[in-house]
């Protein structure tokens, strides 16, 4: 019975890898070969698709744009969430419970509801088609998430640490930056990871708020699908490349994944 | 009930141990008599929990064997050894009632319904849980939950030995002594072999008939509480047991005479020779040191009040010697002389007592 047990995770992982393998398979074929026949791996491996993406500005700027607003968003979300999480963790103040729930409710906001209003709002303040716009828009659900995660980690740090520092004469901000933040470094890592994740994968708002300058890779991909017919090989390569940042990030936080989820705060 | 014997036991957590330090339990032999109350005492990391898990079957030893009476149980899993174990924090099945918790081990073994009922009520009575049987187990306080843990071990009539792994750790101090006395009462009533692991010497010395002191994977001394107190075989036992611990002073050994700072001392056990090159120490407990008209000259440094007696810290040269003085006894003014009670003064070489059993 014990041997058979890990058949389940093994089968599931196989299931997970199958579409990814197929994507990679396609990315190394020419569109002609794809449409012409069905083969398990490329009869003739071509790097043409990848070459196009890495040299054509329309393509690679898509990646750069996406990375730009994701990083911006992560920095903004985590930095603003830190003092707020500290407040929720250490203080009681008027309306704190309701405020916390209101924040969390934004995590439940369907992007579809906000697509059009955001389009109008950000156009009205002249931020349409900028990286900042997408970064700010994603704050809607990433900030509550970051506050939630950080508050969980902060509550695990005993208040005595704060009190000792204050008694020793540390002004609040010095204490916060020099002492407190290093203590919750793991929590910051987890929060940053989830902000990165949700911002990187979300595309409805990213597409709605951009046109040419800040166009994310997703928009480039869908535009290609509709206008120039079905450039399957190219699309596959573009898709394959989007998996790389994710794989990197997972690898770096692999030791913290279980810890972050352990708080049950996703 | 059973007599537990450990033969040639050694355990390492490493698959291929090389150095002596790789062994969590160093080679030893031991027997726990049937129906005895034993304590395994030692600081964290000394191997006592490892030893407990070897006896209970949660761990298979790298070398050696475990015997219950005349059966070799080394390869048997825990549920085949008929043991009970109480852990550091209460382990109860939260979703079940107190009654169902206690009935669980019996039901798993297919015991008939009315027999289960009889045993559960009997044990609940013994543990003062009788009126809580219908309550949900998760609602009890920590000491109540530990009683349930204990109860689950006692319901089975065929229990060979009950093992306790620092069971009072999470209990409130004022309830600790109550649970301790309950354990002692149960032992007297049921006569089951018990093995109790702790790092608290008070718990060990009050609970057990026989205490095994461990340090660094080694059994340092096994004996009655009185033995450990009056005749420590190792300096570790000397300073770990007793509060304050034993005085340890550097010594020399020459022509059959032990000396401290030039003063010859008579010993409780007379060694003929000592190992060459070993570090020699004289050990004597503060209880067996007294002021006298002559002896080792000291100056009085500090006096601490400990209730019925006082702990006086004195100094000879760069060494401090502690002794206990009754609360009403007068103290010499500034300087005085100390005498050591020879029957309880020992010579230690590299920590081990020299000279065989004291006469």
């Amino acid at each position: 019975m014990r041997r058979v047990k890990w058949l389940l995770p093994a089968l599931y992982i196989l299931f997970v890898l199958l579409p990814i393998y197929w994507l990679l398979n396609m990315s190394f074929k020419t569109t002609n070969e794809i449409l012409g026949s069905f083969t398990w791996w490329p009869g003739h491996i071509t790097l043409e698709n990848y070459r196009t993406i890495l040299t054509d500005p329309t393509w690679y700027t898509g990646y750069l744009n996406s990375l730009a607003y994701v990083l911006m968003n992560t920095v903004i979300s985590v930095s603003l969430a830190l003092p707020a999480a500290y407040a929720f963790s250490r203080y009681r103040f008027m309306g704190d419970k309701h405020l916390f729930f209101w924040l969390l409710s934004n995590r439940m906001a369907p992007p579809a509801v906000f697509a059009l209003p955001f389009f109008q709002l950000y156009s009205a303040i002249g931020l349409f088609d900028t990286h900042v716009a997408v970064a700010l828009a994603h704050c809607l659900f990433n900030i509550p998430l970051a506050v939630w995660i950080l508050e969980g980690f902060m509550s695990g740090v005993p208040k005595e640490l704060d009190e000792t520092a204050f008694v020793d004469g540390y002004p609040f901000w010095r204490f916060f930056i020099r002492i407190f933040i290093p203590t919750i470094a793991a929590g910051i890592g987890v929060a940053a990871f989830f902000c990165f994740m949700f911002s990187w994968v979300e595309l409805l708002l990213a597409k709605t708020l951009t046109a040419v300058v800040a166009k994310p890779i997703a928009a480039v991909m869908t535009r290609t699908a509709s206008t120039s017919g079905y450039e399957l090989g190219l699309l596959a390569a573009a898709g394959a490349l989007t998996i790389i940042p994710g794989a990197f990030v997972i690898y770096f936080v692999r030791n913290y994944i279980a810890k972050g989820f352990a708080l049950g705060r996703v | 009930m059973a007599r537990i014997s450990l033969k040639n036991l050694r355990h390492s957590y490493r698959p291929v141990p090389s150095a002596e330090s790789d062994w969590a339990l160093k080679r030893f032999e031991m027997t726990f008599p049937d129906g005895s109350a034993n304590a395994l005492l030692g600081p964290s990391g000394c191997g006592k929990t490892t030893l407990l898990n070897v006896i209970s079957g949660l761990l298979k030893p790298s070398e050696g064997s475990v015997w219950f009476d005349d059966r070799d149980v080394t390869l048997l899993p825990p549920d085949a050894r008929q043991i009970a174990q109480v852990f550091q924090f209460p382990v109860v099945y939260d979703t079940m009632s107190v009654y169902d918790n206690l009935a669980f081990p019996l039901r798993n073994r297919g015991v008939a319904g009315n027999e289960v009922d009889r045993r559960v009520r009997e044990i609940a009575e013994m543990l003062d849980l009788g009126d809580m049987l219908d309550r949900k187990a998760s609602g009890l306080t920590a000491d109540g939950k530990q009683k349930i843990s204990l109860g689950r071990g006692l319901v089975r009539s065929d229990v060979n030995v009950i093992m306790f792994d620092e069971p009072l750790t999470v209990i409130d101090p004022e309830l600790k002594w109550r649970l301790r006395s309950k354990l002692k009462e149960l032992h007297r009533r049921l006569g089951i072999t018990m093995i109790y692991v702790t790092h608290d010497q008070t718990e060990a010395l009050t609970f057990a008939d026989s205490v095994v002191v461990m340090n660094d994977g080694q059994v340092v001394q096994a004996g009655t509480p009185v033995d450990l107190f009056e005749r420590p075989q190792h300096t570790f036992v000397g300073h770990f047991i007793g509060s304050p611990g034993m005085n340890l002073l550097p010594a020399t050994f020459d022509g059959g005479v032990a000396r401290f700072a030039g003063h010859a001392l008579r010993l409780g056990a007379n060694p003929a020779t000592v190992p060459a090159g070993a570090e020699l120490q004289i050990g004597v407990r503060p209880e067996f040191v007294s002021f006298a008209g002559s002896g080792i000259p000291v100056s009085i440094e500090k006096v601490a009040d400990a209730g019925r007696f006082r702990v006086v810290e004195t100094r000879h040269g760069e060494f401090s010697i502690r002794l206990l003085v009754g609360e009403d006894m007068p103290l010499p003014s500034e300087s005085a002389f100390l005498q050591f009670d020879a029957a309880f003064t020992y010579l230690y070489a590299d920590g081990w007592r020299q000279g065989g059993e004291p006469g």
Binding site: P83, S89, S105, L203, I250 | D79, D94
Partner: protein, 289 residues
């Protein structure tokens, strides 16, 4: 959240967060509410319409169909992902190098942009040239998800299971890791069977984590948009037009601001209500234990 000192100045610390989130949440919502009670005639002329749009939506069969499809989808997806995720977590080794490798591999679908997920499955399921499509047809099934509603639904569900089960696995795994070994040891000594260990130890101790998993999956599947639309475009016909897809069609496609806004609000309210219910149940449970 205990042991906190009362201090109204804490508001300064939360102010930046409140301002930014409110900017993103309140203003657009006000806009939506605005539209939902007005009629527009192109040229920025607005006429107050009261609850007309709400009535229209609540009575429209299109909305009802979309809502039904959405509820069906969410139910199916939850029924598969939660038990499967828990089963996988239970089957995984509790520690060691293998478990790390497993977790990393399983986490990959979670970090793929949602449009790529849709595109990946689109390519995967194409009847002639996709691995799945080709294989199914070769095995004798008549499978074409672009033409057959049932095939489209199955593929959509399979994609969601592929995409999100890992989340449940990670959560359940973390919950399981938090159980001290002493419980398993005690169960061994008590002679408990593997099923009893699951019922009386593992499941109760995973309760909180499982509730979070169910809550998250419920919410997110209720809001699904990008990967679904890239996979099926809402079709064939309307068969896979779930709520978000339908809403975006009306809002951005037809620019019917009034009905779109009314539908948005109803949609949002449904989600808020459900999340509030879950949240209340969760915190009440926490307070009890």
């Amino acid at each position: 959240m205990s042991g906190r000192t009362p201090n109204q100045k804490a508001w300064w610390l939360v102010m930046p967060v409140v301002l930014l989130v409110a900017f993103n949440a309140v203003i657009p919502l006000m806009t939506v509410v605005n539209y939902s009670v007005q009629e527009t005639f192109g040229d920025n002329q607005f006429f107050f319409e009261g609850v007309t749009w709400f009535e229209q939506i609540l009575h429209s069969s299109r909305f009802h169909d979309a809502l039904e499809r959405q509820l069906l989808f969410t139910a199916i997806v939850l029924a598969i992902e939660v038990p499967l995720g828990v089963a996988i977590a239970l089957a995984m080794p509790r520690s060691g190098a293998w478990s790390s490798v497993c977790l990393v591999l399983m986490a990959m679908p979670l970090l793929i942009p949602w449009n790529v997920v849709g595109a990946m499955w689109n390519i995967f399921a194409l009847p002639d040239i996709g691995l799945l499509g080709h294989s199914l047809n070769a095995l004798g099934f008549d499978y074409n998800f672009t033409r057959q509603p049932l095939a489209a639904w199955s593929t959509l569900v399979a994609m969601d299971v592929w995409h999100w089960t890992s989340l449940v696995v990670l959560l359940a795994y973390a919950g399981l890791s938090a159980i001290p070994t002493a419980f398993y040891q005690a169960a061994k000594i008590d002679g408990a069977s593997a099923w009893a260990v699951f019922c009386y130890i593992q499941l109760p101790k995973m309760k909180r984590v499982l509730m979070i998993a169910v809550l998250l999956r419920f919410m997110d599947s209720f809001m699904i948009y990008t990967e679904a639309i890239v996979l099926t475009g809402g079709g064939p016909g309307n068969s896979t037009s779930l709520l978000s897809i339908d809403l975006v069609k009306i809002a951005l496609g037809q620019f019917d601001l009034g009905p779109a806004a009314a539908m948005s609000l109803i949609y949002f309210l449904i989600i808020l209500l459900l999340s509030w219910v879950f949240y209340a149940v969760m915190t009440r449970d926490e307070a009890q234990s």
